[in-house]
Symmetry: C2
Subunit: 203 residues, 2 copies
């Protein structure tokens, strides 16, 4: 049976990837966790690679791989310095990772995404919008950047204005852009979250 | 291998359904076409039923069912008069169907969705927003309702304002609401489409 991933926008990204006539080789930057979205691409015959900076998330992903007998090739690595050669990948995604990274750091990562992608290759990335109801909470540490306390832990959140990040897209061209504003009702409380999603092609 | 459906928001709806402790019995209203989204629920062990008013779409769905050896139970039927008894289903969805229906007709369908759902059951529906770039094109036949000509055929489009449809939700409660604004670049042209998605629970 298919493993349902939680990173739903990647079903759409998969559809885009399936239309491109490049080798099916894909990298996930921030690939860890207990339900790695690379599994979706693995099921569709992609050669998968992932990098993950956090040991705990790496371990969770490896447990998943072992229990499902699915070798997703997830290794320790920093997306600001991707340990692969130029133009090795046809496809790359980084889901929800910008949420917990400084803007400057993610801008560096974008240069790396560009470097490791083949020409004509596709890249999926997404960002938290300032339209979230969490925007502005906590201690401000930069433009749209806040430190919040959750369960006695400090958590960093980074929000973007509409179009703001596009100035860092270098030689990428936007072929798909989506703004999602989501309202959820949980235990009689309402939560609003908002995302900016992009699919880019390397020209 | 998993069959990738095009109705991506239903991956999220499936996740919601999987959390509810009711029998896994689901109805798709407008279930036809060459890639029926019911196949996703079938793969996850749901007992599936579908109704489809258009013979051509029904035939396409049956071809899919035969070629995949998947009996999805899709029959001819009108969602304004669903041929099933009260409270027969735990889950129901109707993807993109409101787009081509008069507002009054869809309002009738909503009453039927309510009737055939069990208490605590979930319903997914979506609507075209007035923020689409096609809004206002063609001949106006009602509030937000237009007839357009596509490939020499008359096609009816129905757009809704934010929150507009919620007055017709009767005994449903909204637990998930999403507005999606999508910009696609195809052959150097840009297209904007916008949707309002809902997951409702029958109280």
């Amino acid at each position: 049976m298919h493993n349902l991933i939680n990173a739903f926008p990647l079903y759409n990204f998969l559809k885009y990837c399936n239309t491109i006539s490049l080798e099916k080789v894909i990298l996930d930057c921030g690939a860890g966790g207990s339900n790695p979205p690379l599994s979706l691409f693995y099921e569709f015959g992609y050669e998968t690679y992932g990098i993950e900076i956090c040991e705990e998330q790496l371990e969770k992903a490896n447990l998943f791989c072992n229990s499902c007998n699915m070798d997703l090739n997830i290794i320790k690595g920093d997306m600001k310095k991707i340990p692969f050669i130029n133009e090795f990948f046809s496809f790359l995604f980084s889901y929800n990772t910008s949420v917990h990274m400084r803007k400057e750091g993610f801008s560096q990562a974008l240069l790396e995404f560009y470097r490791v992608l083949k020409h004509g290759g596709l890249c999926y990335i997404n960002f938290l919008s300032e339209d979230c109801d969490t925007y502005g909470k906590g201690v401000q540490v930069g433009d749209g950047e806040f430190k919040q306390i959750e369960d006695n832990q400090e958590v960093f959140y980074c929000h973007y204005k509409d179009n703001e990040v596009e100035q860092n897209f270098y030689g990428f061209e936007i072929i798909y852009k989506e703004k999602r504003i989501i309202q959820r009702k949980i235990d009689e409380r309402e939560y609003t979250s908002a995302y900016l999603d992009y699919i880019l092609v390397k020209k």
